[in-house]
Subunit: 504 residues, 2 copies
Amino acid sequence: MSSSEKSDLSSEEELVQKLAELRLVSARLDVGPEERQDWTQKAQQRVSQYLQDLPNSKVLGDGDQQEIEEAVKAVLPITEEPVSFDTALESFCSSVGDHMLMREGHPNYFAYVPGNSLYPSAIGDFLAAAFNPYALVSYACPAAVQMQHSLIRWVAGLFGYPESCAGNLTSGGTVGNLIAIATARDAKKLKAKDYHRCVVYLSELTHDGIGKVLHTIGMGEAVLRKIPVTERFGMDAEKLDEAIEKDTKEGLIPFAIAATTGTTDVGSVDPIAELADVAEKHGVWLHVDACYGGFFVLCDSVKHLFKGVERADSFTCDPHKGLFVPFGAGLVLVRNWKQLLTSNRRTPVSTLQDRPTFARQLNPEDLTFEQSTHFRAVRVWLPLQVFGVGTFRAALQEKLYLSQYLYHKLKAVPGLFVLEPQLSIVLFRYEGVPEQQQQQGCPAAEVNLRLLAHVCRDGRLFLASTTVLGQTYLRACVLAFRTHREHVDSLVAAVTDGLKQLLG
Amino acid sequence: MSSSEKSDLSSEEELVQKLAELRLVSARLDVGPEERQDWTQKAQQRVSQYLQDLPNSKVLGDGDQQEIEEAVKAVLPITEEPVSFDTALESFCSSVGDHMLMREGHPNYFAYVPGNSLYPSAIGDFLAAAFNPYALVSYACPAAVQMQHSLIRWVAGLFGYPESCAGNLTSGGTVGNLIAIATARDAKKLKAKDYHRCVVYLSELTHDGIGKVLHTIGMGEAVLRKIPVTERFGMDAEKLDEAIEKDTKEGLIPFAIAATTGTTDVGSVDPIAELADVAEKHGVWLHVDACYGGFFVLCDSVKHLFKGVERADSFTCDPHKGLFVPFGAGLVLVRNWKQLLTSNRRTPVSTLQDRPTFARQLNPEDLTFEQSTHFRAVRVWLPLQVFGVGTFRAALQEKLYLSQYLYHKLKAVPGLFVLEPQLSIVLFRYEGVPEQQQQQGCPAAEVNLRLLAHVCRDGRLFLASTTVLGQTYLRACVLAFRTHREHVDSLVAAVTDGLKQLLG
């Protein structure tokens, strides 16, 4: 044994000693069966209590400054020493759990697009994280890829998309829209020097997120062309046609139409079949944002509104909206899978080359710009299993009818102007403001905002307002699965009461 | 009562009847307390069994075609009718759970960058989904924002980042890198017409994902300039300086340096302080990708390698690598929060305007291109609480020492050339291939790939290979928290045995 080997051995002995010490500490990360059971049970109990109390708690916190500061402080800081699981759970519950100023999934949440918290999704996330497969390549976990694949196929089938499509689960609609528009950019082989001449066509009611998407994909200089809507609030196909012709003549590059089936503001549906005709005529990419409204395609009463979506080049919808799944579940489809692949496949990897070719399925990592994500499919797949599509169909149909019901009830209130809903968003405003009040500096918009404040005043109901074509409306979006008739009744009562108080 | 009112009422009666029917079905989505408890308990038991069996199961499935097909088929299709929770859980476990061809978090997973499955993260995801706060704006849930905020601050503090920084939790490193480089693009006010003249500087060992990131943000035409590495595999700062000067002279626009602290291939660390000097000299954005290696900053033995990171303009790291969190947890920091805000803030929203101004904290949604994501903070925060930073510190130090230990053990094997690890990746190759064998058409690279196949042959160990500067190596990455000395010993034994078999 040479002296150099001795020195190595001595260093090795030291290492072995240190390793033994560190192992004792680091092995704590490998939580044992009793703790796993105990921790899960405690978390489950707190969640269950929250859900039990939800319908009788406020949907909207009052935002008292001191209370909020205390909640924020209750989030334990990160420290060298551990705390007990009970302490950590208590910190979570007393900060986040008790102080959700907006309680998503509450039956009286009628604002924005309600979030929901399907319980099996929570178990799905638990399973996904605990097993932790790498779900983005078939050769790591083919069944995980298959689960994502079957979800995407199912959604494609709902809209009559062809077998040639491919898609992705995303964190939400914006990333879905981003993937779609980036794919359009690449399919049209646009060069950066021309980005400023590229035109994306929207309607006046298209979600403003599309501008952010363009910015992110490097096309912030592109032209956003707002096309007027018809009286049913859909994009006017004739005016779109004219705009594209005009732009082409002027040397611009019309490259994408961003249509919506279920606008966030009004819940209106663009006439997709007509837009598809225009898109085909001019060779422009047609993208359909169905984030809010897409899953209403399950309902017979409105299925016809989605006609033509199967002709769109790309499509997004949000299971975390229309399927009541918690935040973090979007879905994007591209009609021609080759375009999605071309836009997203990584250049051949020269290193780490032991990636078996397992080409029976497309690998999700080749169809998105993300490389690693959590296994998002389970949180959607598990609820679909344990409830069956029929239950979702019924719940969505109920929301549509509840909106009709709300429409009828509000229309019966003197002075209220109400827009008949196409999907589950009801817009209304009070138009009976006496001239005297208006002259005293209280215009109609102001009265309506006061009415809104009155309805939301005690936190038991949560509505939003919106401005559509220059008019201010109160806006009720019915999309919480816990919302039933009595909740809509309480909304109508609050509006009636509010009007009495304001005008009395 | 007019006839029109009658007709309304009659329609309303019909609606009320339908609503009552649909409610009965849709109310199934609101799972009751007994079911919640039962389902969670069953999911917990299956997870616990998986984790119990993990160390004694194979890390690498054999990928038998029939077995895989059966696993894929075991994923239940989506159907109109529900199945029982037990059936759905069984489907999940027998498809995904039993057929993870690569078992992430297995103590013998030495390939790629090991995934992990810290149990409290799974509970964190469960809590996040079940409570489902909208965690992207303060006025929806200030404590959720605070939890994210405190995580970001903690990471910033580890690297000495100034208070002026801001950041985000992302789905993983790629999205972190995307946000960083898009922020650089916007901070440098680059115009699309100049994208093709923009240069990003990498080293020969920089992860190839950066090309994909550039493509996604619209800069696919930008120039990727590979700078040679020094003998310690770090980017050569002098050569970088020269390249930037040359490019500037030639009319190109050097705009970003993509440095790495912990390359995926070698685990080498770029000399950030030296690169920061060059970046400052030329006014070029310095981005540091610390996805794999970042959290080793917790360890005294390698802390010095991260010197200078505090001077970088942006930075990414992956809790789902260095903190053993399941897939789906990345983090990006931008030194100057205003740049991140400018790059990501949405244009003022004209509709849905009832968003209270609650400006005490930056709203996460203004700091990322995403609009809705799941509440990612809990899966990182909860493990940090219940284990304390000290436990992570010990576990990471153990991985570093295990790599040193592996290095020493392999170096003692005759014929093996071993690279001394900087962090926790050990590269080695057999160099003693007899000339006779080489002449018989079995060059050194081939022998090494056969050795790799031998080591991985029975699925009890999982290594990768890589090609670095033209040489093929076997590559062991030690980053599973369950990996301890005996697992490294078994790796060494398998290599020794493999060599005997191949050369015997």
